[in-house]
Symmetry: C2
């Protein structure tokens, strides 16, 4: 177990996780690899390959016990501990993210937010305090947050990222439309909304 899983494999695992959480069925019941495959748009063999990386908890002719599977996924994704996240950039998108209920459902807590606009500092949005970016180090230390969401303009994204890294942040979800550089060992995940739309337009114009 604990064998390597590809980037897309992690993505699938998160999808199985999401499906199970939305499943209101007796927790002593079972799911088959086929059911998980259908629910997430993959194949049964793929699901089994993904899951056997973490030991063989499937039972022949029955499937996977939901309770066990949920526990495994919770452990893999660190849901057992508090998943404290900070957010930098309380503009339109940042505010929407603060208000997004889905994070709470998936057990993420946005514990602090940061901005440069002095008019915003000290206010609370959705009960999350807005600090000045200069307070980053102390707040990160206090909250023990390891993950940050960046929703600042592209022009200041690299600067913000540098500050986050030196404050001790280990992983970053970046919404700024900019290619950023992080040191070895720091995880960076980019979400560029325009790029996603570009992909769709590509597919429209270049049907397969």
């Amino acid at each position: 177990m604990d064998r390597k899983l590809s980037t897309t494999g992690i993505y699938r695992l998160a999808l199985y996780n999401r499906y199970l959480n939305g499943l209101h069925r007796g927790e002593s019941d079972y799911v088959s690899s086929q059911e998980l495959a259908d629910a997430t748009g993959h194949t049964a063999a793929q699901v089994r390959k993904d899951l056997t990386c973490y030991g063989s908890l499937g039972e022949p002719s029955k499937g996977y016990k939901i309770r066990k599977l949920k526990a495994l996924l919770a452990r893999i994704f660190g849901k057992e501990e508090a998943r404290n996240v900070i957010l930098v950039g309380v503009g339109n998108l940042g505010m929407a993210l603060l208000a997004y209920k889905g994070f709470q459902i998936q057990r993420f807590n946005i514990v602090a937010s940061f901005d440069m606009d002095t008019k915003k500092i000290g206010k609370r949005i959705e009960n999350v305090m807005i600090y000045h970016i200069n307070d980053l180090d102390s707040v990160v230390a206090d909250t023990k947050a390891q993950v940050a969401i960046v929703s600042v303009p592209a022009s200041s994204a690299q600067e913000v990222i540098n500050k986050l890294v030196s404050a001790g942040i280990k992983a970053i979800l970046n919404f700024a439309p900019s290619s950023l550089i992080v040191p070895e060992g720091i995880e960076l995940q980019n979400v560029d909304l325009s790029v996603e739309l570009d992909r769709l337009y590509y597919l429209l114009k270049n049907p397969h």
Copy 2:
């Protein structure tokens, strides 16, 4: 030319596109595959492979002429025409997307939005009218929009998607945390913010 490009290849192409648009350099100048590679975090060979799918417009010992490359990418991503997009679900996230300036920069026009909340209908956010979801068919026909952004709760996402498809929408960018089914020929791109955070936590807990 017009050979098949993988999903991740399209993504890289969109990144080259973004880099070139941010480049304020004489348009008669050249970029090398190496420069594009460095700017987007890939390799030079990869960049060349991606670009040669669309004919050989690189010039030996010089690189790619920026103006030509921009024109090619604009054509590939349909930027020559109006890229009219509609948005369904004017909640927190929806409003933030309406206000997001990056879409205009990348030449996307959100031409209409939809909701079910009668208190919102008829208002304008960022100069975009909010219609009732029942008006979908006529507005899609009028605006000739082919792409929709979905930012409704997971519970109503499938229903909304069905309506979009029957209204003639061809591609969908979905923010609802739910696995959705679309007919053959309709493109669906999912962005689940919790799943992205899950990936980061996976990487934190399972260092490579």
